[in-house]
Amino acid sequence: MLKLENISKQYHSKVVLENINLEIESGEIVSLLGQSGSGKTTLLNIILGLTKMDNGRILFNDQDLTNVKMKDRGFNIVFQDYALFPHLTAYENIIYGLKNKRGSVSEAELQEYIDFLELKPHLQKKIGELSGGQKQRVALARTLVMKPKILLLDEPLSALDGVIKESIKERIKSIAKEFQLTTIIVTHDPEEALTLSDKILIIDQGNISQFGTPQEIIHHPKNEFVKEFILKQLQIKRQNIFQLFGEQYA
């Protein structure tokens, strides 16, 4: 279980995060949802250990990680643009970290990850030859073989188009399930957050606006911001789709 207590952060007297309290159960997928500048990426970087917080504590399975360095926390991240090494092949990227952690993953396990992400046909390709979805899967594989205790994903779908988006979404869900992996996702897209995660943390101007399951958020929006920012967008989308297909498909 990951527990955040009273986390605050300021950048040059501008408050970015204020008193964030949060508990995430093991194996849960949680989305951090907010507009740009809301503080969601900062929160992700604080959990990762990249950004220092001003106040508060981070606990993982009752162990205090507040002053533990990024490298020693055992969490890992896939960045929005994947940050794959362009001079290495897909395979070399995947096993990049294994060279530092010999024996942590057996050959069979490695193959399992590769098969699971359907990367076999692409292993010898250079990064430049891969499509967006393939890059995303290589980046996931590279991170997963490090066996992170928590998987962090920064806008994992924003660079992908339509159909690929849906398939990666399913993939992320099955990863969390298959490996019982706590997954935290940053996104600005309500539809993405609500269809992908077990729980959603809506952040507005550095404060928690609402934290709950998709159902809770849809049926019991806590405030005007959630109604305006989250629900309205989804209602418009629903409207458009109804108009396309006709009401009977509702």
Binding site: L50, K52, D81, P86, H87, N100
Partner: protein
């Protein structure tokens, strides 16, 4: 791409004629003269030059010292760029380092030599402070020091620029993948920087190999190619044909360097995109790198310090009473004020005409469908390769008998061609990023092509034009290699006057003139930076 219009063809042809007359023809003449002997054309000159042990020593010396300079400069420039880009050093300190490192660019290289003499010579400022001379400065040591100071800003700019385009997220990824510091450093910094580091090495090598100012002032008995070339051309027994051979031989490493640079280009990483990210905290790294940067900067600036002190004293270091006499002397001497005026005139016309030429070339190259527009890329590659001394010498050979000899025009043209590459690439870079349909849009709204260029294209690249201005102006104020063969008694410039004053040991006047160049350039640079900043604020 826009349809070709007659007015484009006219501009295209005019520019090509300029380069034909002032680049290809002089180069051809140079090559021809290098083969010319009393008995017709042969390799005799080459044979003579290469069997002359004195010249051969100069070549070996030049290669040795330029190579060593390049190694030292690349390492220093890299460390400073690393400190600026990959640490959490206090921001204002970073800005100071970044600006300070560029200061030598505002001075002619010939001044460096005198500053080193007055700092590290037997009676020098730093020698006095330390109590004893550190090393013999005339010859190898002084040259090395001068070359490093000269090449450091250029190498730094190149490396620093590449650093900005490196995705620092990889440093985080590498940390999370449990890399040790060495593997992390090699994979996320050195590997993506390989091209730039090689580039900085080659650039530093070529710059020191072809510079004339530093060996002219502090070379002592250590002979290098540049001083040999000057000797052969303007010494007691001039031999133009041998001079041409040396110039051609000087061109060889430069040619080789440019080929190497293009090859190294392949090693550059092209990240899809990159975003800003926080640097991992590491106090020890920050302190060490901050310390190194400050030491390098202070070391460099301390050498120039004497330049700001000596001219205010009666006779440094013997009579230390403060006086304005040297300044009064310079400003009341018609000779010296005329020289300063000459420099301003040359810099002004070089800049204005140079910008028009480079900007027009870039527009035709990037925003029209003209056949043969690649010609400008070829020209810019040639001018990039040409050392100033070689270009100046080829002008001397070609225009010696013509009415252009001894005029400002020939100096201005030489500067424009010599420094063409960078402003051209600046303009090209900015013009190619603009929306390609603006001319069509302008046309549909009733503009002529000229009108769209004037109303849309130029205003949207104002910031680049200002940058071009600053580059052309400052370089034509400080160049000596390019113009040393072209100045006459009437068209003498500050940098060449300094060389003359050296013969009469008038070092105070040398420093006063250097300060004049320095402050003129500083003012131009500050104004340009300010205007550029204002532009970018306006646009975003």
């Amino acid at each position: 791409m826009l349809n070709v219009r007659p007015e484009m063809k006219v501009i295209y042809t005019s520019i090509l004629i300029v380069f034909l007359l002032f680049l290809l023809l002089p180069m051809g003449t140079l090559l021809l003269r290098s083969f010319e002997t009393a008995e017709g054309y042969s390799l005799t000159n080459y044979y003579n030059v290469l069997s002359n042990s004195e010249l051969l020593t100069a070549f070996v010396n030049s290669i040795k010292i330029s190579g060593l300079t390049a190694i030292i400069t690349t390492i220093l420039a890299f460390m400073i760029a690393y400190a600026l880009n990959c640490t959490n050093i206090y921001r204002p300190l970073k800005s100071v380092i970044k600006m300070g490192i560029l200061i030598p660019m505002l001075l002619p290289t010939i001044t460096y030599g005198f500053a080193i003499m007055y700092s590290f010579g037997n009676q020098g400022l730093i020698t006095q402070l330390l109590g004893k001379p550190l090393f013999d400065i005339y010859g190898f040591n002084g040259l090395l020091m001068g070359y490093v100071i000269y090449t450091l800003p250029a190498a730094f700019l190149l490396i620093n620029n590449s650093f900005m385009y490196i995705d620092k997220k990889f440093i985080i990824v590498s940390k999370l993948m449990m890399d040790g510091s060495m593997r992390s450093f090699l994979n996320t910094i050195i590997r993506p920087m390989l091209g730039a580091l090689g580039g900085a090495f080659v650039l530093s090598f070529i710059l020191s190999f072809t510079d004339y100012g530093i060996p002219a002032s502090i070379g002592g008995t250590y002979s290098v190619v540049a001083t040999q070339l000057y000797q052969v051309m303007l010494g007691s027994i001039p031999n133009f044909n041998h001079g041409a051979v040396i110039a051609v031989l000087m061109l060889v490493p430069a040619l080789f360097g440019v080929v190497l640079l293009n090859y190294l280009e392949r090693f550059n990483f092209h990240y899809d995109k990159f975003s800003q990210i926080e640097m991992v905290e590491n106090k020890i790294r920050d302190i060490i790198l901050g310390f190194i940067s400050i030491i390098v900067l202070m070391g460099m600036l301390s050498i120039f310090l004497v330049m700001f002190i000596a001219p205010f004293l009666t006779s440094f270091p013997y009579d230390l009473t403060v006086t304005m006499q040297h300044f009064i002397n310079v400003f009341t001497s018609n000779d010296l004020t005329a020289v300063y005026k000459n420099s301003l005139i040359v810099a002004f016309f070089t800049t204005v005409v140079g910008i028009i030429l480079a900007y027009s070339s870039a527009i035709l190259n990037t925003r029209t469908g003209l056949k043969g527009r690649v010609a400008f890329d070829v020209v810019s590659m040639i001018t990039n390769t040409l050392p100033g001394m070689v270009l100046g010498l080829s002008y001397l050979l070609l225009f010696n008998g013509s009415s252009l000899k001894g005029t400002f025009t020939i100096i201005i043209v030489c500067n424009i061609v010599h420094y063409f590459t960078t402003p051209y690439l600046m303009a090209k870079n900015s013009l190619s990023k603009m929306n390609p349909s603006w001319e069509t849009t302008g046309g549909l709204l009733g503009d002529s092509w000229f009108k769209t260029v004037y109303r849309v294209i130029i205003p949207n690249s104002a910031s680049t034009v200002i940058e071009m201005f600053s580059y052309y102006f400052i370089n034509s104020m400080v160049t000596i290699s390019g113009i040393i063969f072209l100045v006459s008694a009437q068209t003498s410039l500050v940098s060449s006057k300094i060389k003359e004053l050296q013969h009469f040991a008038k070092f105070n006047e040398i420093f006063v003139l250097s300060l004049l160049i320095f402050f003129t350039n500083l003012i131009v640079k500050l104004i340009c930076d300010y205007l550029q900043k204002k532009q970018s604020v306006k646009n975003f």
